[in-house]
């Protein structure tokens, strides 16, 4: 349809930028209820990837595969449902509403009469954001990205003015050897999780419009 949505450079954008606005997948440890953000095979103060899966560092319990995939699917579905709630935002008067004018982009305005405000209405949760959210969840279980340390970092790199506390709290970086082994040990398990996301990506209309996106997605599997 609208060819201006094509973004051929999408695939070249690093995950840290591309998924800047994606919401983190948060997992609850079924054993101790510890609730923590999950960012794939990388160092975290909350979890550790072992050869047998994701281990909660609060109680040392290894999350069973079904626990992880169920939480992943539940989170993903909440995102889709939130998208379908269809919240719109006016770029001029700033109202947020779920009502749609018969012209779509026309603002209903605070008067409710659909004239007066010249602003443009847009979905707050765009299909691009949802598509990126799905790709982000997929990347969390992408072991080859983890191997190349190309995942969106859990602990943002600060420029200079980072406090001593934050520096101390940052977990130590994994050695490449450790990382390489964990990648292979978790490959098949993480493919199960990726399969959960893939089922939705297959139904995702945006994937078939946004060619930049689809190539970016495929390039994850090349090399």
């Amino acid at each position: 349809q609208n060819s201006t949505t094509l973004q051929p450079l999408e695939s070249t954008i690093p995950d840290s930028d591309r998924f800047r606005d994606s919401k983190p997948l948060k997992l609850t440890c079924p054993s101790c209820q510890h609730f923590f953000p999950f960012g794939g095979i990388q160092s975290s103060n909350n979890y550790q990837i072992t050869h047998s899966g994701i281990r909660c560092l609060s109680c040392q319990f290894v999350l069973p595969p079904l626990s992880v995939s169920a939480q992943l699917e539940s989170f993903l579905r909440t995102q889709i449902s939130q998208y379908y709630a269809g919240w719109l935002h006016c770029d001029d008067c700033g109202i947020t509403t779920r009502q749609v004018s018969v012209y779509g982009r026309r603002c209903i305005g605070i008067s409710g009469k659909a004239y007066g405000c010249k602003g443009i209405m847009r979905y707050l949760y765009s299909d691009k954001a949802l598509y990126n959210q799905l790709l982000y969840l997929q990347s969390c279980f992408d072991v080859d990205k983890a191997k190349k340390r190309a995942l969106k970092p859990l602990y943002e790199e600060f420029s200079g003015d980072v406090s001593a506390d934050d520096k101390e709290n940052k977990p130590s970086v994994m050695s490449q050897g450790e990382l390489d082994a964990l990648v292979e040990q978790n490959r098949s398990l993480f493919e199960v999780y990726q399969g959960v996301v893939d089922n939705y990506l297959e139904d995702c209309g945006r994937r078939y419009v946004d060619m930049g996106g689809i190539f970016g997605f495929m390039s994850a599997f090349e090399k």
Binding site: L66, A70, I80, G86, Y103, R106, S175, G195, Y200, G205
Partner: protein, 626 residues
């Protein structure tokens, strides 16, 4: 078990290993590859044997251990390549060093093992609780006293009709009145302009219907937004007077606007004054037709509202009706209807469903069973918190596998014809929008007597036209009403709206469920609204939710509100109630339909030999405790 890793390494590798960097490297390798000191040594030995030459045996050193690590890594990659990913359903839990707490056994025996580890009490309780939700274990909520009530009739419509006790099990003829291909559209790409196109067309299409029905003149229609001296006719959508009105707000007669179509009033909205209309019921999203005047330019004063004419009822030829009669050999047609959830909120036990299946097979023996989702509710607390496990032969690793390994075996036992309709909350449906594509029967391993239909779906069982929609309009439609309408039951008004508007879900914007979460940051905070679920309308395809040419004979729209069965405009309206409600057995619906006899039917047409079905007169409907 107080031996240190170092001692373990030295015990296996010998005193040569007693060097800081070697000990450190060995410990690292054990960690990385998940090996015990013993395992590491065995692997090292075989590595030494395969790489050493006759005159140069590999020595234990840091460089050789680094090479050893590469070797282990390569083996790992190779073993992955040997196993195609599709087979890798179940990750293997291998023995772990210095992690006594992690079960060293495969998943299935994890529960037993965990009970032996007293150090992890909190973990054990929560995890084994989940494990109790096996399909064989009795559900804790289904207490004996409640079980004895099972089968109790809670409500009956047309009690004078005798239910049939026969076990005819005749197969009903099933015709789908929908094109399944049309539901295969891709989701998650809703375009605002396409939404607007649909909303606009809806007004104009209804205007055409009204024009033809009431024999209006096209010139009688005007723009209600502009001031005029004379009365005009207008068709538009009822909307709230502010864009900030929550969808479920209690509106009042003074807070309504009428939205015009692009052609009817360039999409503008005008305040609606309905003080002259005696009996009314209006809701956001409704298409309505008024006669009235905008004499000041400020508001449109309606003097009369014109309802949208009802569609006709379906008819059948005499020869078809005779065939259906013969097929049933004089027996009643028995149709059972259930609606999810099928488990309590406390656990994911399908025990009650399993017992229900036995009851259907052995006692009730319906011709057809219509089952609405959710079967596996993606908003179920156990799924959201990841605290779930099942005692099955194969351990599910995904929710789709939970359906396949836990629910499918139960449904497979059903001997009658079964129709499944999904819910947008069903974890197994990847098409998480309404209108919704059907379940993938083959993928879920369901047998051929199970038909998977989309949501909504209109179909015919013999002569009976059944309309089914799984989106809770009874909960989501909130109207402003007055006069006689106020005295009616709300369910009656909603059902009338659905029939009049000719679509299964006429509310716009659709329902929304949010929960308030306290923000930890701001004091004095009213809380943040977090999205839970919703009607998930994919508006550009809402055409699939419109009635075709006629009203249905039976309209089934499950609601989480109380079950009911009623007759509105000669349509049998059924809400079977939730199969499990408030953590206890809920209800289901049994319809006994007396076979069509010509003397009981009304002739619809003098020319052709066609007859109205009069299902509302011939059907006994019981709501029964699950």
């Amino acid at each position: 078990m107080t031996t240190t890793i170092e001692t373990q390494i030295i015990t296996r590798f010998g005193p040569k290993a007693n060097e800081t960097d070697i000990l450190k490297k060995c410990g690292e390798l054990m960690n990385i590859f998940g090996l015990s000191a013993e395992d590491l040594f065995l692997k090292w030995e075989s590595y030494v044997i395969t790489t050493s030459t006759v005159d140069n045996e590999l020595q234990l050193s840091l460089p050789s251990l680094n090479k050893f690590q590469e070797f282990l890594q390569m083996k790992l990659i190779k073993s992955n390549q040997k196993t195609p990913s599709s087979n890798a359903k179940r990750p293997v839990m291998r023995t772990t060093p210095n992690m006594n707490i992690i079960p060293s056994t495969p998943m299935s025996s994890m529960k037993k093992r965990r009970l032996e580890a007293p150090g992890l009490r909190s973990a054990d309780t929560s995890y084994t609780n989940g494990g109790d939700s096996s399909p064989v274990a009795p559900s804790p909520s289904a207490t004996p006293s409640k079980q004895t009530e099972s089968g109790k009739i809670l409500e009956t419509l047309n009690a004078h009709i005798t239910p049939s006790n026969s076990i005819s099990q005749a197969k009903l003829k099933l015709f789908a009145n929908f094109n399944p291909q049309k539901y295969k559209f891709r989701t998650m790409n809703q375009k605002l302009l396409e939404v607007a196109d649909y909303l606009d067309e809806q007004i104009d299409a209804t205007a055409k219907v009204l024009l033809n029905h009431y024999k209006f003149e096209a010139s009688d229609f005007g723009n209600p937004n502009v001031q005029s001296q004379t009365e005009i006719l207008t068709v538009g959508r009822i909307v709230p007077d502010s864009p900030l009105t929550p969808y479920d707000a209690d509106l009042n007669p003074n807070s309504l606007f009428l939205e015009t179509s692009r052609s009817g009033g360039i999409g503008q909205r005008v305040q609606l004054n309905i003080s002259s209309i005696e009996n009314f019921s209006f809701f956001p999203g409704q298409i309505a037709c008024f006669k009235g005047i905008n004499s000041t330019g400020e508001f449109f004063k309606a003097s009369k509202s014109y309802p949208i004419p009802y569609l006709g009822s379906p008819v059948s030829s005499l020869s078809d009706l005779n065939t259906y009669h013969q097929d049933l050999a004089g027996d009643n047609m028995k149709v059972v209807i259930t609606s999810g959830p099928y488990t309590t909120q406390n656990d994911l036990s399908y025990d009650l469903l399993s017992r229900f299946v036995d009851k259907m097979n052995n006692e009730v023996r319906p011709n057809t069973l219509i089952m609405f989702g959710p079967f596996l509710d993606v908003t179920h607390p156990s799924i959201q918190s990841g605290n779930l496990s099942f005692d099955t032969d194969k351990t599910p690793t995904t929710l789709t596998e939970v359906f396949k390994f836990v629910i499918t075996p139960i449904l497979k036992r059903l001997t009658c014809q079964v129709i499944l309709l999904p819910s947008t909350k069903d974890a197994t449906s990847k098409h998480a929008a309404y209108p919704q594509d059907s379940f993938d029967r083959k993928h879920l391993g369901l047998p051929k007597n199970v038909k998977c239909f989309p949501n909504p779906a209109t179909f015919q069982l013999n002569e009976v036209l059944i309309g089914c929609s799984n989106n809770d309009i009874f909960k989501d439609l909130k109207d402003v009403n007055g006069g006689q309408k106020m005295k009616q039951s709300r369910f009656d008004r909603v059902a009338e709206h659905v029939l009049e508007q000719r679509r299964y879900y006429p509310v716009f914007p659709g329902g929304l469920k949010q929960k308030k979460t306290k923000s930890l940051i701001a004091e004095n905070d009213t809380g943040v609204l977090e999205h839970v679920s919703g009607a998930d309308l994919h508006v550009p395809y809402m055409g699939l939710t419109e009635f075709n040419e006629s009203l249905p004979d039976v309209l089934v729209i499950p609601s989480e509100l109380k079950f009911f069965c009623k007759i509105i405009k000669n349509v049998l309206i059924i809400n079977p109630g939730s199969f499990v409600k408030m953590n206890a057995p809920g209800s289901y619906c049994l319809m006994n339909l007396v076979p069509p006899k010509v003397e009981d039917l009304s002739k619809a047409d003098d020319v052709d030999d066609v007859y109205l079905h009069n299902v509302w007169k011939r059907a006994r409907v019981d709501i029964i405790k699950a």
